[in-house]
């Protein structure tokens, strides 16, 4: 019997269609793998199912059994028996394990929490998922794997019939993964329906009964796992021709080597996450792309090169053939490196300041704290760069938050270029930008490359990366798993290496 049916789901964000006609069925006692590239619409779809996007903000039907549902908030979905375990767990770190299970649903009498009952029930549910930790242990003391089991126990305690897991193994050890899998199989045998979102082919074929492929917000195929071998699945995920989404690649003659990175490794200060060793070189005018899944270590490499000290690094960096240490972003700027970070809202813009101040920031800070500013020069430079990139704005003294995402990004490009860099580290340059503005950003990128700027480019959009890069490194789990020249770019090959376990190089 069908537990869950989605019929003709459509959803758009300010004019951009994120989901076009998605239909999906989940049966009792099965694990359905939901696969697709980053940006294919998986999270959007799951947010609809779990009530984060409320009834009315999308079109189409959600049926549970045969009843149509109209969730007005996530609690409705929870009450209907749908639970989601997010990739990034967000438990209450300083509450006990037992309490975490019942946050918002504390067993109580007249408002007083019945601690004894809470602990009895907690012990019951934790037993079901096979977790043996003290009930009063603080959540923060648990490993990520155990935290995940607690989250699942929490879902079970709420009488969940449909459990959605979003990349649950991305932070688990092999042992923890095994534990999780046997639990999931047990839940399946008890008649629960599970939706399993993953990029990892091995896992999908180990677990899934059926597979649903999303691409560009459309359901491509939904079929049993046996009928869709890995090669065919990869083709379904990526298989589409290159449209005229990208400008003509300019012909360039690459100059001398401007950057060489030799056996760079990084280890996070807190021990969470590491990367490397990676080695690569970059020539004048060249765009070197980094492909990989989220968390493959690409952002961390860019940030470490740019003088971020969150990661403790070893290895050598050569700029124009000279060994350099880059202890801070300021020193990197002085060495003519610049970084455009991945999260524009969090890491780039000064939300309370105007365009002028946003643009001038890097140039000014690379020139010393007490230098007097020449406002005429500042105005001239800012206007030049705004117009150079075709930014749509009213006045240089308006707040940056009044601009659209694409125009904000052009301001940030302006900021980066005012320091006159040789090497630009670009992290997700078009995230959250509409199609038209993306094209303009690509044009800017090619123009700058033609002028002799060199780029390290990270993007989760594989097509974009293939269209822009001259060469590409593929990374998985902090390691380089392959490299390609432009003529050899092939989506399935790149995808396979991005999904590899990071053991090879």
């Amino acid at each position: 019997m069908d537990l869950l049916q989605l019929q003709n789901i459509q959803k758009s964000f300010s004019g951009v269609q994120a989901l076009k006609n998605v239909s999906l069925r989940l049966q009792e006692g099965e694990i359905l793998a939901l696969v697709g590239e980053n940006g294919a619409g998986k999270s959007t779809l799951m947010k609809i199912v779990s009530g984060s996007y409320t009834h009315g903000s999308f079109s189409g039907e959600i049926l549970l059994g045969n009843e149509s549902q109209a969730f007005t908030n996530p609690l409705d979905a929870e009450a209907a028996g749908i639970a989601i375990i997010h990739q990034e767990l967000s438990p209450f770190q300083h509450l006990s394990v037992a309490e975490n299970l019942f946050v918002g649903h504390w067993p109580n009498q007249a408002g007083l929490v019945k601690w004894k009952k809470l602990e009895q029930e907690a012990a019951h549910w934790l037993g079901l998922v096979g977790l043996t930790v003290p009930l009063d242990a603080k959540m923060a003391e648990l490993s990520v794997g155990s935290q995940q089991l607690v989250e699942i126990a929490k879902a079970l305690a709420r009488n969940t019939k449909i459990l959605i897991l979003d990349e649950p193994t991305s932070a688990l050890t092999a042992q923890e993964t095994e534990t999780l899998f046997s639990l999931l199989r047990k839940l399946r045998s008890e008649g629960k329906g599970l939706i399993y979102i993953s990029h990892k082919m091995e896992e999908i074929y180990q677990l899934a009964d059926r597979i649903h492929v999303l691409r560009d917000g459309e359901s491509i195929i939904e079929t049993s796992a046996a009928e869709l071998p890995e090669q065919a699945l990869l083709e379904k995920m990526v298989g589409r021709p290159l449209h005229r989404l990208f400008p003509e690649v300019p012909v360039r003659h690459f100059g001398k080597e401007v950057l060489r990175v030799d056996h760079l490794t990084g280890k996070h200060r807190t021990g969470r996450g590491k990367f490397g060793p990676v080695s690569f070189s970059l020539r004048k005018g060249e765009i070197l792309g980094f492909a990989g899944l989220l968390g493959a270590g690409r952002t961390e490499i860019l940030q470490s090169l740019f003088g971020d000290r969150e990661f403790h690094t070893t290895g050598n960096i050569f700029l124009h053939g000279v060994q350099s240490s880059l202890p801070s972003p300021m020193s990197a700027l002085q060495e003519k490196l610049t970084l455009i970070p991945e999260d524009r809202k969090r890491d780039s813009i000064l939300p309370t300041r105007n365009l002028l101040e946003n643009i001038s920031l890097s140039r000014l800070s690379s020139g010393g704290l007490f230098r007097r500013q020449r406002s005429q020069e500042e105005n001239r430079l800012a206007k030049n760069s705004l117009e150079n990139f075709g930014t749509k704005y009213c006045s240089a003294t308006q707040l940056i938050t009044e601009l659209s995402g694409g125009n904000q990004q052009k301001v940030i490009f302006g900021r980066a270029l005012q320091t006159n860099p040789d090497i630009i580290l670009l992290d997700e340059p078009t995230r959250g930008i509409d199609v038209g503005a993306k094209y303009e950003i690509y044009e800017i990128l090619f123009r700058l490359a033609s002028e002799g700027k060199s780029f390290l480019l990270v993007s989760s959009d594989l097509l974009e990366l293939m269209a822009l890069s001259d060469r590409m490194l593929v990374m998985a789990q902090g390691k380089v798993t392959g490299s390609f020249e432009r003529k050899d770019f092939k989506q399935t090959d790149i995808m396979r290496l991005a999904l590899a376990s990071g053991k090879t190089q």
Partner: protein
């Protein structure tokens, strides 16, 4: 209309001044009263100037009230116990000592905030208690007086009229310069300038205390509008992460700002001690809150990233006007506190309301 709502605090100030003028039958507007009012608000204004930088950065400094007392105690000790009170060089020594004590504690505050990454609220709360204790220890808990005569002009001298004119004019031109050609912004401040200028000319001239205030504000204003340091302060308060990736030396800027705040507290301690003609380890209670109130009434966000020095000036002036008006009207001091609190909250609420529309 947009212009008016953007300058709500100035309008609020003029309304308040108008109400008090009417209620006091014009006594409030008497030159002598206005001149004294500004003299009395100078110390708060000086502290508020430094606090503007601290709050723009997204920080806070609770230690300055105690620091005013501590540096004052050193002025008292040096002037009376160490016999520095008899000469001009002794007076200069005491002044330098007060400034040095302030700067030292400020450097300590800044270093701890920048290097340890502990919330400035906590660091400066601790420092508030420590410095108060030190003030008690060094003074044995008692007040010390009188100050030597060489210091006295700091508190009660007035500049001659021509000199006053030159300085006032200078401040005004500097102010216009800091606006960067947006002359429409000058209307309300000019009106305040005119009012105060009239008072100074009609009553003795520019008080030396007010000169200190003017110099401090002019300095901070130039710092904010014309130097990279000022831009960095705004940038860090607006988004620390963005400032970091753009190459702003966050720790150095933080350190400098707290050190400067300490220096100003030291100077304020000197001025207060001279004005009261004696040091008191209990002096400066709640000065930090008055300074914070002035900054916040002046439209600077406690989250940092937006605000101006002129805003803090009018904030300080509003608080002083309220105090002065209630004194003139013989409002009992217990009630004064309640009114002051109401004004602080409603000024900020109005400001927030306008920004949301």
């Amino acid at each position: 209309m947009k212009y008016l709502s953007k300058h709500g605090i100035w309008i609020g100030f003029f309304l308040l001044a108008l109400i008090i003028s009417v209620a006091t039958h014009g006594e409030f507007l008497a030159p002598r009263n206005l001149s004294n009012l500004l003299r009395q608000s100078s110390i708060n204004g000086i502290l508020a100037s430094g606090m503007t930088l601290v709050i723009l950065l997204g920080g806070i400094d609770l230690s300055i009230g105690s620091l005013v007392a501590l540096s004052g105690v050193f002025v008292g000790l040096s002037q009376v116990n160490w016999g520095w009170g008899n000469s001009l060089s002794g007076a200069l020594g005491s002044a330098a000592l007060a400034a040095g004590v302030g700067l030292f504690v400020g450097i300590l505050n800044g270093g701890l905030v920048a290097l340890l990454g502990i919330a400035p609220f906590v660091i400066t709360l601790g420092m508030m208690v420590i410095t108060r204790g030190l003030a008690m220890i060094f003074s044995h808990g008692s007040s010390i007086s009188p100050m030597g005569e060489s210091l006295a002009p700091l508190a009660d001298a007035y500049l001659s009229l021509p000199l006053s004119g030159i300085l006032l004019g200078g401040f005004f031109i500097l102010f216009l310069f800091s606006l960067r050609k947006k002359l429409s912004e000058a209307i309300f401040p000019s009106a305040v300038f005119l009012l105060l200028g009239y008072a100074f000319f009609a009553y003795k001239g520019l008080p030396v205390l007010v000169v200190f205030l003017g110099l401090t504000m002019a300095f901070v204003s130039l710092l904010l509008s014309r130097t990279t340091l000022g831009r960095s302060v705004y940038a860090i308060g607006s988004s620390e992460r963005a400032a970091f990736w753009a190459g702003v030396p966050i720790k150095r800027v933080t350190w400098l700002v707290y050190a400067f705040m300490g220096l100003l507290a030291g100077i304020a301690g000197l001025l207060l001690t001279v004005r009261l003609n004696g040091s008191d380890p209990n002096a400066g209670q709640l000065f930090e809150l008055d300074a914070i109130a002035a900054v916040v009434i002046g439209g600077t966000s406690l989250k940092g990233g937006t605000g101006t020095i002129m805003g803090s000036f009018i904030g300080a002036l509003t608080i002083a006007t309220l105090n002065n008006g209630m004194d003139l009207l013989d409002v009992p001091s217990f009630y004064q506190m309640v009114f002051k609190g109401i004004i602080i909250v409603s000024a900020v609420a109005m400001d927030k309301g306008q920004r949301n529309t």
